[in-house]
Amino acid sequence: MHNKGKRVMELEEIRDIRQRKRVQTILITLLVVGLTIWSALGTDFSVYEVFSGLGLISNFVFIDLLPPDVSTSGSLLGAILETLYMGFVGMVVGAMIALVLSFLAAGTTTPHPIIQVVVRAFTSIIRNIPGLIWALILVASYGIGVTVGTLSLILGSVGFLTRVFADTLEEIDTGKIEALNATGSSYLQVLAQGVFPQFIPGFVAWSLYNLELNIRASTIIGMVGGGGIGFAIQKGIKLFQYKEVSMAIILVLVLILSTEFLTSKIRERII
């Protein structure tokens, strides 16, 4: 009897929790809708204007941007390669640094919680200051050119990769780590033999994805003096050589698609 009464209570409790969750969901939804409306008002959003502008867009795209000026592809090739070099170096160096930092920043592997907090705060600052701002500051201190481009890509990679690496490390099955602990292994051995093998697929996949990000980011960084195809795009825009710009974009597209293709092949083999 007693038992039964208790169980009924439980059921009601669960229903209460469900209902509270439902109320929570509704509140969150309302909040999001509210924020959206607030933003729409603040930015004078008008669907009418968007649609009435479609004609102008197509004029611009089909008359000014297209067709791409193929004759410039030769001179753009150097720039796109430079972008690739920057992106790749940024990825490799960034991944190496992030590898160390992420082991310090992940709850599962950190030697000490204080180190974890410090590293997390540090990378959070790097990550949450937009690349453009980094580039502006870096240009002021290192001068112009690929050095700055590469440096800001490294910074961006470190910020991004440390976070995703640390998340990956935290998702690692702790049971397996425990199993190695139970054999009397030392901290480093557990990291190297237990954590690292599980971490490799994530490490490779995210690093390769970061390469793509870097290539795209370099189109922005190039605009403030970071070199590469971004600068070519910027130059094209400023001189109204829009057809050259569209050619450059096509080259970026090709580069991104080929990295995407290659990286997916590599990912398949490694995972």
């Binding site: 999001v32 924020l35 959206t36 607030w38 933003s39 729409a40 603040g42 930015t43 004078d44 959003f45 008008s46 204007e49 968007v50 502008g53 102008l56 867009i57 004029n59 611009f60 795209v61 941007l65 390669l81 430079e82 690739l84 070099y85 920057m86 790749f88 170096v89 490799v92 959070s124 600052i125 949450n128 200051i129 937009p130 453009l132 701002i133 502006l136 500051i137 870096l138 002021a140 201190s141 290192y142 001068g143 690929v146 050095t147 590469t150 795209r216 922005i220 605009m223 971004g230 795009i233 825009i237 974009i249 970026v252 597209l253 991104i256 698609l257 995407e260 590599i266 083999r269 490694i270």
Partner: protein, 277 residues
């Protein structure tokens, strides 16, 4: 009892048999991976060589960098009356752009996911379209939309929406593709239509992933909206440029801190939600 014994012996010998039938698989020497590794190292060195980075400058620059950081302190908040409204405008641009992108990508992602798309080609076309949207830099999108709707925050919203759309379609579709096909089949088997399957089966299953991506995108978009200030979309990016151009580094630091706080609070929010979802 004896029968049981017998059957269990069978099991044992069965296992043995199975083991004997298999050859020892020697550790695979994966030349592909080795090749990729070696190529990667060589390419890294080659890239470094091609970039021709001036390492002596690296040291000087780092000194200059820290001197400059030092110069930036303390932040100058006297311009707050301009900076904060601009920050709010950037935030609004980012929020609205992200929301529009999320709504549209929710439809397109289902067309882009190969396990739900009407056919493979629809999926491929939508996906390539998404790639193109991602590859065109936000600044160019902004220019395209300025032609259409004039200056101000609106082209910024649209540029962010389109650029985000490119990424969200891809990652949403990926989450949907990763979903366990059995769950979709189970609903199919009960006679549910495709809209019902998506609404009742797919969305609840991938919701967490969608929310995580959305919030990550919002973070990125706040960063992007600061760039858009430069093309007349207003907002905090222009304030930052203004400060940098007039060598007002202390104000620039303040603006950077405001941007940091905006993005960081979204990151905090996402961490909170991760615990809850």
């Amino acid at each position: 009892m004896s029968e049981l014994e017998k059957s269990s012996d069978n099991i044992y010998s069965l296992n043995r048999n199975e083991d004997n039938n298999e050859m020892i698989v020697k550790p695979k020497k994966d030349f592909f991976i080795k090749g990729v590794l070696i190529f990667g190292c060589l390419f890294f060195l080659f890239s470094l060589y091609e970039l021709n980075i001036d390492y002596s400058n690296l040291l000087e620059g780092t000194v200059a960098f820290f001197i400059m950081l030092g110069d930036m302190f303390p932040p100058n908040i006297s311009e707050w009356a301009y900076v904060l409204p601009a920050a709010i405008e950037s935030l609004q641009v980012a929020i609205l752009g992200t929301v529009i992108a999320v709504v549209i990508s929710l439809v397109l992602a289902f067309l882009a996911a190969e396990n739900l798309a009407p056919n493979k080609w629809v999926a491929r076309i939508v996906k390539s379209f998404a790639t193109l949207m991602r590859v065109i830099p936000t600044i160019i999108w902004a220019l395209i939309f300025i032609v259409a709707v004039g200056l101000g925050p609106l082209p910024g919203v649209l540029a962010i929406a389109v650029h985000s759309l490119g990424m969200l379609i891809k990652v949403f579709a990926q989450s949907v593709e990763e979903m366990d096909g059995g769950k979709i089949e189970a609903l199919k088997a009960s006679g549910a239509g495709s809209v019902q399957i998506i609404a009742q089966g797919v969305i609840p299953t991938v919701l967490t992933a969608l929310m995580a991506w959305t919030i990550l995108r919002l973070e990125i978009d706040i960063g992007e909206s600061t760039i858009l200030g430069l093309v007349g979309a207003g907002g905090i990016g222009w304030e930052l440029m203004r400060a940098m151009r007039s060598y007002d580094f202390n104000t620039a630091l303040f603006i950077t801190m405001v941007i940091f706080v905006m993005i960081f609070s979204v990151e905090m929010l996402s961490n909170r939600l991760k615990l809850k979802v």
